[in-house]
Structures are given as structure tokens and as C-alpha cells.
């Protein structure tokens, strides 16, 4: 009798371990089912384990004391969302990796066999190396451009906006309430061969200069690498601007005034006070801009030409048009891993707090 009470009390005080364990086991069960680690009768066993774990925690919460309930509460709140992500975010990543190492028995088959087919990866690099290169180079240039455009704009809004700050910030966000595709298609018409931008450049006579700078090609602006980079820059600018604005907004203006009082020049005050304090925003913005830009295929499709395709175009084409799932998955996996290692490197240095 007393032993039973002690055991239940012990479970009560360790309820958080039980709650966390139950959540992880349930998530593992869902990943196993979703990613097809198990099949046939084994999957019914996994399903049974899943049900038992969930019922077990429920019983513990109902039978345990208020202390146990308090310790279990956060896991109960987390569970629906976390299990959703386990099944529809983690399990898919696993099945992507699995298919990236599979072969198709024949060209038109929808089935695939898991064979540790690493040649999918070497094929992906061999056939689509240029596209990988385009993706990373274009995204990197676009990211630098978003800093160059976004930082001054965020600075002016944060420090000189006064009471119009919120309205100015709203104006930055408003363009992004129209559909992403419509914006990109609008750019393709604006930059078109006989559009007003090209005609203005023609009239002013800067076409030669722009051609020399490799921004224009043969008097054309659309369907050039510059147009693709321009589209990426435009579409992801708010992801850079908003984090920078947030970090600038937090800066106490008294610090800048103090620097001035101590005879620092405005430039020096900016370099020594404002810039270091806003760096976290720039780094968060860099991730939030570079990641979607590197995986994008819409800009390259509407603003580029067949020689400017990015890895996103190739994944999309191989996956949805050629139904070549193994190679498409291999390319996706490489993109995911290269970006994940980049993110890890960044968060190691700067922490995750500023990403959210």
C-alpha cells in the first residue's frame, strides 16, 4: 500500500519527465508511420503504442495530483502542434532522404526501391551543378543588395520617422499584400524590352554603361541574370528590412546623443554605437532573405532565361514534370543540408532569439 503511494508520488514529482518522454515517443511513432519505417502488421503495433502512450499520459493527468497536472500541462498544450509537425515536417524530411537514395525500376514507374543509390547525388551535382551555383550566387548578391537598400530605409524610419513611424513601416509592408506571383509578373512587364524602363535607359543613353556592367544584355533588361537578382531582391526585401528595423528601434537614442556629447562625429557615433547594436537584425535578416531566395524558382522563371535557371527550377522540373523523384529529392536534400549547416553556423555565433 505504502509502496504504491510512494511510486505514484514519485511519478507525480517526475511527471515532467513522463510528459516529455510521452511526447517524444508519440512523435517517434508518427514519424515511423509517416516515413514508412514500418509496414504491415508492425505498423499496427506502432499505432497501438501511440494510442497507449497518449491514453497513459491522460490517465496520469487525471489520477495524479495537482502538482502532476501542473507539470504535465505544458506537454499537453504542445502535443497537438508538435505531433502535427512530427508527421508533416519531420517524417517528410525522412521520406525525402529515403527517396533520394532510391532507384526507379523503370522510367515510367511510380514506385521506387531503396537501394542506397548514392549515384543520385553525384548525378545531381554533375547535371545540375550550374543551377546550384546560380542559386547560391544569385541569392548571395540579392541578400547584399537587400542590406544596402533595406538598412538605410530602416534607419530613416526608425530614427527620423517621428510620429509617422508606424505609417512608414506600414508603407514598406503594403506592397507585399499583393500576390507574390502577380508582383513578379508585374516586374516582367515593367522590365520588358519595349517597356518604359528600357526606353528611358535608351533615351538617357546609359544602355552601353549598363551593358558594360553586365546589367543589360544586348539592349535587353528582362531575361538577364540582373533581372533575376533584382526580382529576388525586391521580393525578399521586407525579410531584411523588418528585423533591421526591430533592432534599430530598440536602440536608446540617448546612447547616440551621449556619443555626440563626448565629441564623437555623427559617422563615428554610427559606426561605434548604432551599427554594432543593429548587427543582430542584419544577421537575422540575412538568414530570412538568403534561405527563401536560394530555393526560389519563380523569379528565375518569369524574369530569367534558360541560362539563368536556379536549383529550384531544376527540382520543380525533375519532380513535377519528369517525375524523376530520386534525383529531385537528392537536389532538395543537398539544398536543405547546405542551408542547415549555414543556419547552424549562424546560430552558433549569434543565437536563435533574433530569428523569431
Amino acid at each position: 500500500m505504502t509502496a504504491g503511494v510512494t511510486v505514484s508520488r514519485q511519478i507525480g514529482t517526475n511527471a515532467d519527465r513522463v510528459g516529455l518522454g510521452a511526447m517524444l515517443v508519440a512523435a517517434a511513432c508518427l514519424v515511423a508511420l509517416g516515413a514508412k519505417w514500418v509496414s504491415g502488421p508492425a505498423s499496427s503495433v506502432v499505432l497501438l503504442v501511440l494510442a497507449l502512450v497518449l491514453i497513459g499520459v491522460l490517465v496520469l493527468a487525471l489520477r495524479g495530483g495537482p502538482e502532476a497536472r501542473r507539470l504535465l500541462a505544458p506537454y499537453g498544450l504542445l502535443k497537438p502542434g508538435m505531433l502535427w509537425l512530427a508527421l508533416f515536417f519531420l517524417a517528410p524530411v525522412w521520406s525525402l532522404l529515403r527517396i533520394s537514395l532510391s532507384t526507379k525500376p523503370s522510367r515510367f514507374s511510380v514506385d521506387y526501391n531503396f537501394t542506397w543509390a548514392f549515384e543520385n547525388y553525384s548525378n545531381a551535382f554533375k547535371d545540375f551543378g550550374t543551377q546550384f551555383q546560380h542559386a547560391f550566387v544569385y541569392a548571395a548578391i540579392a541578400t547584399v543588395l537587400t542590406v544596402l537598400i533595406g538598412y538605410p530605409l530602416a534607419y530613416v524610419i526608425a530614427f527620423r520617422g517621428g510620429k509617422y513611424k508606424n505609417i512608414l513601416l506600414g508603407m514598406v509592408v503594403i506592397p507585399f499584400f499583393t500576390s507574390y506571383l502577380i508582383r513578379t509578373i508585374a516586374w516582367s512587364t515593367i522590365l520588358a524590352d519595349r517597356g518604359f524602363v528600357v526606353r528611358t535607359f535608351d533615351a538617357v543613353g546609359v544602355v552601353r554603361v549598363l551593358e558594360w556592367l553586365q546589367i543589360m544584355d544586348n539592349g535587353k533588361l528582362l531575361n538577364t541574370p540582373a533581372a533575376v537578382i533584382g526580382g529576388l531582391t525586391y521580393n525578399f526585401l521586407p525579410f531584411m528590412l523588418l528585423p533591421i528595423y526591430v533592432s534599430l528601434e530598440k536602440i536608446d537614442t540617448n546612447l547616440v546623443n551621449a556619443a555626440g556629447d563626448l565629441y564623437s562625429s555623427a559617422t563615428r557615433a554610427f559606426r561605434k554605437v548604432v551599427l554594432p547594436l543593429s548587427i543582430p537584425g542584419v544577421f537575422a535578416g540575412t538568414l530570412l532573405t538568403f534561405i527563401p531566395a536560394a530555393g526560389d524558382f519563380v523569379n528565375a522563371q518569369f524574369l530569367g532565361n534558360p541560362n539563368t535557371t536556379m536549383i529550384g527550377n531544376s527540382i520543380q522540373d525533375q519532380f513535377l514534370k519528369q517525375n524523376n523523384y530520386p534525383v529531385a529529392s537528392a537536389m532538395s536534400a543537398v539544398l536543405m543540408f547546405s542551408i542547415a549547416s549555414l543556419v547552424l553556423l549562424y546560430t552558433k555565433i549569434f543565437g536563435t532569439e533574433d530569428l523569431a
Binding site: 514508412k36 508533416f88 511510380v110 524610419i157 507574390y180 526585401l237 555623427a266 523523384y325
Partner: protein, 282 residues
Amino acid sequence: MMRMRSKVAHWALNIFAGLGLLYLFTPIIFIVAFSFNKPKGNFNIAWQEFTLDNWMHPFAEESLTRALRVSLEIAAVSTLISTVLGSLIAIALSRYKFRGSAGINLFLVLPLTTPEIVLGSSLATLFLGQNFIEFGFATIVIAHIMFQVSFVALTVRARIRGFDWTLEQAAQDLGASPMRTFTKVTLPLILPGILAASLLAFALSIDDFIITFFNSGNVVSFPLQIYGAARVRIPPQINVLASMILFLSVAVLLSGTIAGMRKEAAKTSAAKPKHRVLNKSA
């Protein structure tokens, strides 16, 4: 001399910022202007003449209207579910200190730091070769909830970071049941944050193209319809509907900002005598 130079620099920066805003608005001006165009042929890309026809018949393009309705349905269902799931996560993270919360925080950021094309293609591999669910409305909703949950959780968490959870204690000390405490005290206080997050989730769902593209089957959402039609035909109704969505969002944003400014003004005018010096930076 020095002052002159810094003045020039001051204005140069302002002008640069102004040009930045102009750059942001260029395609928007173009989209709205061309909603009043009477195009020749299938592509609404060269200015012909001014007309109000398109605005009189915004739903004349049947396939486009149908796609918009599908998108609204998807957004409604996915936003509802993701708001509940995400808000629960946010409450757990800010209300309790618990084992594993650091891991959960990191895990929540992962979907946001994964390129959409990876999310879309990997989810599609999950749905391939199984016979529980077919590509279509349901798979799109599942996909949207997947990326919305993280956004909702992080937004709500940021909004309720300063929430005073001892208020719950106070309510319960005064004899309120946990249910009553939640509906009468907690929920009203965190509701603005949850609403803001759900608006964001709704907007993300309506606009999502890449992830939807991989998981849509035969269902055509608004962005998919535009993508499919862009090579064949760009009717002016696209511009009209886009402008409508734009104006509607601006109205929502404006009403939110004005309400916020009123509240702020009320607060500062009430607190003025005390906080004048302390509140310098605000």
C-alpha cells in the same frame, strides 16, 4: 563647412530612403494602374485606354474567381486549425518553465529556416505511394497548417511575452474555476496577439505558391491559376482582384494602426505628468 556637409548627408540619406520606398511601390502602382486598362489581345501588359469595365466586372473571369474561392476556403480552414495549434504552443512556452523548452524553441524555427521548395517537395514524397489520402484540397490544407503553426506560435509568443500570468492566480484565489479563469481573464488579454497571428497565417496561406504547387493535385488555388495562365493569358481581372486584396489588407492594417495610436495617445495623455522625463525615447 562641417555643418553643410552633414546637412547634405542628412538629405542624401532621406532621398535614398524615399527612392527605396518608390522602388517598393513601383510594381504596385503598375498593378493598380493596369486594372483600369482596356487590353488588346490576351495580355494586359501594354497601356491602351482607360476603362472602368474591369472594376465593374471583377468576377468575369470564371476560372480566376473559382480559384480565388478555393484559396479563401483553404486559408479559412488552415488558419483556424493552425491558430489553435500554434497558440497552444505559444501559451505552453511563455506560461510554463519546463524540461525541453529550449529544444522546442529550436524545433519551431526549423520549418522557417527550410526553403519552401524543400518543405513542398518533401511533403509530396510523404504523400506519394500511399493510399490514405489523395493530392488535393486536404493535402494543401495539411501543407499550409504545417508552415503556419510555427509562424503563429512565434508571433503569439512574442506578443504575450510580457503577460502577467499571476493574474490567473489572482482570479483563482477569488474563486474562479480554471475554465472561467481562462475564458474571462487569460483569453481576452492574449486575444489581440492571437488575432494578429491568425491574420498573418491567413495572408501566408492565400499567397503561398511553391509549397502548394507540389501538393495540389488537380485543385487550383489563386496563385496556381495565375501561374498556369501567365503563359497563355493575363486578363485585367487579375489586376482588379489583386488590387482588391491590397486595398482590403491596407484597410485592416490602417484600422489596426489607428486603434493602436488612439490607445497609445490615451495612455500617454493619462500618464504625461509622471512619465515625461522617463519616457524620452518613446
